[in-house]
Symmetry: C2
DNA sequence: CTTGACCTTCCCCTTGCAGTAACCTTGAGG
DNA sequence: CCTCAAGGTTACTGCAAGGGGAAGGTCAAG
C-alpha cells in the first residue's frame, strides 16, 4: 500500500514515515514507479513505533525496542529496564511541571488582572519569586 | 561585569547570554576591548528572564513579559492572560505525561523482567496497548 | 486529453542553546 | 620582558523529529 494509507493506519504522518526511512528505522519496498510500498508487516512495525512514541520513547529508543522485538534471544529484563528508565524520566518531568504549575498558579492568583499597570506577576518575576 | 559573572548571578550560561543578545532580547554594553559589559540592571533583567524560563515560558513569551514589564501603561490583565495561557499548556502537558506514566506502569508491571524472551511489553507494543 | 489527487526528491525552518575552532586580552608569576 | 592559563570574541555546526513548500513524475477517472 502507498505511504498515506500506511501512515493513516498507523496514526502517523507521511512525513514521519519518510523520516523513519532516512534514519533507517523502516525501509519499505519500492514499486516500479518509485513509490514506497508498505507491506502489512511494515504497517505493524509502524504501529509499534507509534505506540512506543506515544509512551514517550525517543526514536532511538524505539529502535532499541524494535531490535529487542525482533531478537528471539532477547531477555524480557532488557525491555523492562528501558520501560523503567522511561518511567523515571517521565516522573522527573512530572515533578518539574508540577512545580511550574504551582508557581504559575501563585503568580496568577496574586494578580488582579485589571486595567491597572500594578502587576504582582511582573514584580515577582522582577524580584525573587 | 563580564559575561560569566553575569551569567552566574542570573543562573544562566554564557552561551545563553550571547544567544539572548543575537535575538535582541538583551543588548549589553561593550568595553573598549570588545568584551560585553553587563550592568546591574542587565543582571536584573537576566534574572527576570531566568525566572520566566523556569516557569515554562518560551523565549518569545519572555520577550512579551519583558515588554509589559517595561511598559508603564501596561494592564495587569495582559500579564495575567499570558500566565493563564501558560498554565493551560502546562496542564495539558501534565495530562499527557500522566497518561504515559500510567501506560508505562502497566507495561512494566505486566512484564516478568527475567532472562526469558517472553515479554509482555513487546507484545503489547506489537498489538494494541 | 485533461484534471486532480497522489507520489517523488530536495531544501529550509523550528527551539534554545551546546560544542568546537581559531583567534584576542588580561593578569599573575618567573 | 616573556609566558601561560584563564578569560573573552566571532563563526560555524549540530541536536530532535519532523513540518512546509517547491518542482516535477504518476495514476485513475471522465
Amino acid at each position: 500500500m502507498n505511504i498515506s494509507q500506511a501512515a493513516q493506519r498507523a496514526g502517523l504522518s507521511s512525513k514521519a514515515l519518510r523520516y523513519y526511512e532516512t534514519i533507517n528505522l523502516l525501509q519499505p519496498a519500492r514499486g516500479p514507479n518509485g513509490y514506497r510500498e508498505y507491506s502489512r508487516d511494515d504497517v505493524e512495525t509502524l504501529q509499534f513505533i507509534q505506540r512506543a512514541r506515544a509512551c514517550g520513547f525517543a526514536v532511538e529508543e524505539v529502535r532499541q525496542l524494535l531490535a529487542l522485538h525482533r531478537d528471539p534471544a532477547r531477555q524480557s529484563h532488557d525491555a523492562k529496564q528501558l520501560v523503567e528508565e522511561k518511567l523515571q524520566q517521565i516522573e522527573q518531568q512530572l515533578q518539574t511541571l508540577k512545580i511550574m504549575k504551582k508557581t504559575l498558579r501563585g503568580l496568577a492568583d496574586s494578580c488582579a488582572g485589571d486595567d491597572s499597570p500594578e502587576c504582582a506577576i511582573l514584580s515577582q518575576l522582577a524580584n525573587r519569586v
